[in-house]
């Protein structure tokens, strides 16, 4: 049973544009929502994470928006750059723990 659904599967954005990736979860007990970036041949790297007590968190060009009532959260990448081209994964866990349930991933391509 997929508990975290991610969309879109792939995304093409022009340089300087905004990339938006969405995730929806089913388990209302989830209380930690990180986003990971993965380049080919590399392991996932933590980008930014949010707890459900806040609706938005920003770190540099990356922003998480969180909607607890809708059980949805999204990643916004502002001023997208070709170097941002990678696969992005949302995830969720219980008790802010490290047993993560990942979404299926979004392959982002930023065109110069």
């Amino acid at each position: 049973q997929q508990q975290v659904k991610q969309s879109p599967q792939s995304l093409i954005v022009q340089k300087g544009g905004i990339s938006i990736i969405n995730c929806a979860y089913e388990n209302t007990a989830f209380d930690y929502f990180p986003w990971y970036q993965q380049f080919p041949g590399k392991g996932p790297a933590l980008l930014i994470a949010i707890r459900p007590d806040v609706s938005e968190k920003k770190e540099g060009r990356f922003t998480i928006s969180f909607n607890k009532s809708a059980k949805q959260f999204s990643l916004h990448i502002m001023d997208s750059q070709p170097g941002d081209s990678a696969t992005y994964f949302c995830a969720a866990s219980l008790n802010a723990g490290n047993m993560l349930t990942f979404g299926g991933g979004t392959r982002l391509m930023v065109k110069p």
Binding site: V4, Q6, P34, Y36, G41, K42, G43, P44, A45, L46, A49, F89, A91, N95, A96, G97, N98, M99, L100, T101, F102, G103, G104, G105
Partner: protein, 112 residues
């Protein structure tokens, strides 16, 4: 400082064989988690160990086992390999069980 290191980087096995994958966490990290990432999908949680004790297990058959050593390094063992076990196996370490995880670059396991 060295990140999470995994060995070997690539491995080819045949059906029915046994495999052992190894992980060295970041210095000072006491928790190690294992994930399986099938090509084109998000990582799936297999095990978490903290202070040498199993703290969590994902939905994987008993053919999968793991352990953590006194120096906090870890091994993942898979018996009676199946074609479907072909995947990238990721190790992640963290200081505790509720702190950000850092992933290694994985072991690519191919089953022939």
């Amino acid at each position: 400082d060295a990140g999470v290191t995994q060995s070997p980087t690539h491995l080819i096995k045949t059906r029915g064989q046994h495999v052992t994958l190894r992980c060295s966490p970041i210095s000072g990290h006491k928790s190690v988690s294992w994930y399986q990432q099938v090509l084109g999908q998000g990582p799936q949680f297999i095990f978490q160990y903290y202070e040498k004790e199993e703290r969590g297990r994902g939905n994987f058959p008993d053919r999968f086992s793991a352990r953590q050593f006194p120096n906090y390094s870890s091994e993942l063992n898979v018996n009676a390999l199946l074609l479907g076990d072909s995947a990238l196996y990721l190790c992640a370490s963290s200081f505790g069980t509720q702190t950000p995880q850092h992933f290694g670059d994985g072991t690519r396991l191919s089953i022939l």
